[in-house]
Amino acid sequence: MIVFTSIGLNYLPKARILNNTLKKLHPNWEVHLLVSDRIDYGLEKYLLEPLQEFDKVFFLDDLDLPDKYEWIRKHNIVELCTAVKGPYLRKLVLDGEEKIMYIDPDIAVINELSPLESLLDNYSILLTPHLVTPPTKTKPIVDNEIAGCMRHGIFNLGFLAINGKQEQGKEFAEWWNNRLIDYCYADYEKGLFTDQKWCDFVPAYFSNLKIVNDPGYNVASWNLDCRTLSYSENGQILVNSEFPLRFYHFTGYDSGAGLSVMKTHFGEKSGDVPMDLWEWYERMLDKYSIDELSGRKWNFPSN
């Protein structure tokens, strides 16, 4: 299994948490770090060790793309780090890799992801939807369905997996790459939201898709209102009292939006498990932070 994530260097501490939590559970999986950034002069010595934690580090400068620097300039940092997912996935497929997973850097893996690996034996594409049960109250309908999914896409592209040896896996990688090269922008007026909205087409275009609606995957503050998190007596975190929490997406950590959404749902106490997770992530970020990166500006020119 190849797992890759995509960052500007400011997200390196988060990617380290992803790498560390993933490697603890799957020491044999290969983790690639795709960096859409350049290391400033003098910063190498501080980044060498953190970058060595990954199995492979791939810089955007080394990615083979036509008119690359002009293309880069058309994107802001979020758009670029998202857009490069397409060419890198395609590259891995062309390199002959079989099972490939993309995971956002602000995700932490809590329990084994082996079931996903097994699913890739039979399916070409795996996607996780934002919502797995239809809301019944007006507020979540407005917030989650209308303002959330209908605007940003049905699936959360913090996670994606394909089997690069299967025909539809290859076709998906090719198609998605093409779209991301040309249309990976957050441009709501044109109906675009980076890579995510494109994947609303996937169920129509690719039959061998598995929509992973096990609620234990891709839990985040924006879907906590339709999931219940608890601890079992043996200390495992369960979603809806049944499904192990596989990975948690700390969306909106830096902006504070994630915490604020949690507080809106649960009040100041925010529920034991989400608050435990949030505070743990805070401690992990302290542990993996790199002082020299704080306050640093992204080193690629934006449009």
Partner: protein, 542 residues
């Protein structure tokens, strides 16, 4: 620069040498005796400079004069003599002042030990502050050494070489009110009825050190309920190991929070009876001794590799914490005491410390004996209380919700009985202060205020709960929940004493429906039974 450390070094050398005659010194210097200071410390600090002789055979002035005739200034003449026994041949010095080669070797060892301390001190200081290459003792360190000497002196004066029990716990039980502290008070009280003394040490400040730390720290020393003062643990340990070894009857470890492994291992080797290790909570399973994940909710003490431990702030070093205890338990000969069967089972389930034989026994902290039965008239209005500290783990939030909801309900009067009093319009606060003479003042207050039902709503397992037994003794009906450990377990064997209900909403229903009043009336229909509380039976110490 290291004037003070030098004094400590000299203090230790003279102590070992046997050349300082404390009795003689006090007799010759009544001012020293009256000042109630350690005579040796006085001699090392100022006495020798004032020409006060250390024993009947060593004349400081004459000795100094003979040395000064040919040498540089020598400092404390007795120290100089010990270090240079062959350089000065003076007929005015009695034979008793000469040193054997064995003594010399020991002195060298003491010196090395102190010198190592100085080196370490030097090293760590220069690491800490490069701007301070010439370290000196700060005023805190200075006072620490003075305190150690004073404390040791007071302790020795108090004990006068008599036998004693040595107990340890996380804080000074004479100053803090709580379950473990109460047990220690009871234990001390029973032991003092015998011919033995009761020495207690606790880390100062409490809770600072982790069990796997190998450093030594400060201890607060209490003897027979009297404060002896503060002392460095190494100084106390050395005294215990070298001078009072034969006087220590048994070491009783009530709590090891704030002690380091090196201290515990040395303490566990003391006493001529097997040391006792009490399990009053789950500290040996986790630093969060009530097993509260992130100080929020009971975690059931899961496996270290669980999600729960992974994301808990106490989980980060739990592996090391438990491994340290496992090593201590495997290597030291200890007898374990559990306050209840529930706690023994739960502790064994959580720690899995079962790969070595543990000698253990269950010792209830108190026992109840039937007393008078108060006449009872059926009530339609009852007094309900929350006895004890207003802490989250004791279920305080549920109490606040309960009293808020039923504050206008005429069927109930609410009381909070605690050492920590608070103000609320929803209930009346009653101050409950323990005294050594009346350790069960809680029972007394529950009777005085005619409390009918109490909420013992601990959301972490109680290992015993004195409050529960005090409430039973006062004839109260107990309302608890399944998480309350020994309380819930005990109630399951005697359902007439109270009830265990699953949730806060059921608790609310109990009051809304008036069922609680019915249950109180049913329990007391033949009269309100009171019980006498029989204090801790210290038979386990023999």
């Amino acid at each position: 620069m290291f004037k003070f450390l030098r004094k400590i070094k000299e203090y230790l050398i003279l102590k070992r040498s046997g050349l300082f005659d404390e009795e003689y010194y006090c007799l010759q210097n009544p001012d020293v005796r009256q000042a109630d200071v350690d005579p040796l410390w006085h001699f090392v600090s100022v006495g020798w400079k004032e020409g006060r002789n250390p024993n009947a055979n060593f004349d400081l002035v004459n000795y100094s004069l003979s040395v000064l005739a040919s040498q540089e200034p020598i400092g404390n003449p007795l120290i100089y003599h010990i270090k240079n026994p062959l350089k000065i041949k003076d007929s005015r010095l009695n034979e008793s002042c000469s040193q054997s080669s064995t003594d010399q070797l020991e002195i060298v060892m003491v010196e090395e030990k102190v010198d190592n301390c100085v080196e370490l001190e030097n090293e760590s200081r220069s690491q800490l502050s490069e701007a301070q290459p010439d370290p000196i003792l700060n005023s805190d360190e200075l006072s620490e050494f003075v305190d150690s000497a004073k404390t040791l002196y007071s302790l020795k004066e108090h004990l006068k070489e008599a036998e004693f029990y040595l107990s340890i716990s996380h804080d000074n039980y004479t100053k803090v009110v709580g379950g473990v502290q109460n047990v220690i008070r009871m234990e001390e009280s029973e032991i003092l009825k015998t011919n033995y003394h009761y020495v207690h040490i606790s880390p100062d400040p409490p809770q600072k050190k982790k069990i796997y730390e190998t450093t030594f720290g400060d201890w607060w020393v209490v003897c027979d309920g009297k404060d002896m003062g503060l002392a460095h643990s190494e100084i106390i340990l050395e005294w215990l190991e070298k001078e009072s070894l034969s006087s220590i009857r048994r070491v009783i470890m009530h709590h090891t929070l704030g002690f380091g492994v090196a201290e515990i291992e040395r303490l566990a080797k003391l006493g001529y009876l097997t040391p006792i290790f009490w399990i009053h909570d789950y500290y040996s399973a986790c630093r969060s001794y009530h097993l509260r994940r992130n100080d929020r909710a009971y975690c059931f003490g899961p496996d270290i590799s669980s999600n729960s431990c992974q994301i808990c702030r106490y989980g980060e070093d739990r592996k090391l914490h438990m491994a340290t205890f496992k090593k201590i338990f495997a290597q030291q000969n200890l007898q374990f005491c559990f306050p209840s069967n529930f706690t023994k089972d739960n502790w064994e389930r959580i720690t899995l410390f079962n790969n070595f034989s543990l000698e253990s026994k269950v010792v209830p902290l108190v026992e109840l004996k039937e007393d008078k039965v108060q006449p009872w008239e059926k009530k339609d209005k009852i007094n309900v209380a929350f006895p004890g500290y207003p802490y989250a783990q004791k279920g305080w939030d549920s109490w606040l919700n309960l009293t808020q909801r039923f504050k206008e309900d005429d069927r109930y009067n609410f009381f909070h009985l605690s050492y920590i009093s608070d103000q609320s319009e929803n209930y009346r606060s009653i101050d409950v202060r323990y005294t050594p003479d009346n350790p069960h003042v809680m029972k007394e207050k529950l009777v005085i205020y005619d409390i009918d039902a109490v909420l013992i709503w601990s959301v972490v397992p109680e290992t015993f709960s004195l409050t529960y037994y005090e409430s039973l003794a006062a004839g109260c009906f107990i309302v608890s929940n399944p998480l309350s450990g020994n309380v819930a377990k005990t109630l399951s064997f005697s359902p007439s004493d109270g009830m265990v209900i699953d949730s806060e909403s059921e608790l609310m229903n109990l009051l809304t429906s008036g069922k609680l009043i019915d249950l109180v009336n049913l329990k007391n229909h033949e009269g309100k039974k009171n019980y006498l509380i029989q204090n801790l039976d210290v038979g386990y110490l023999e």
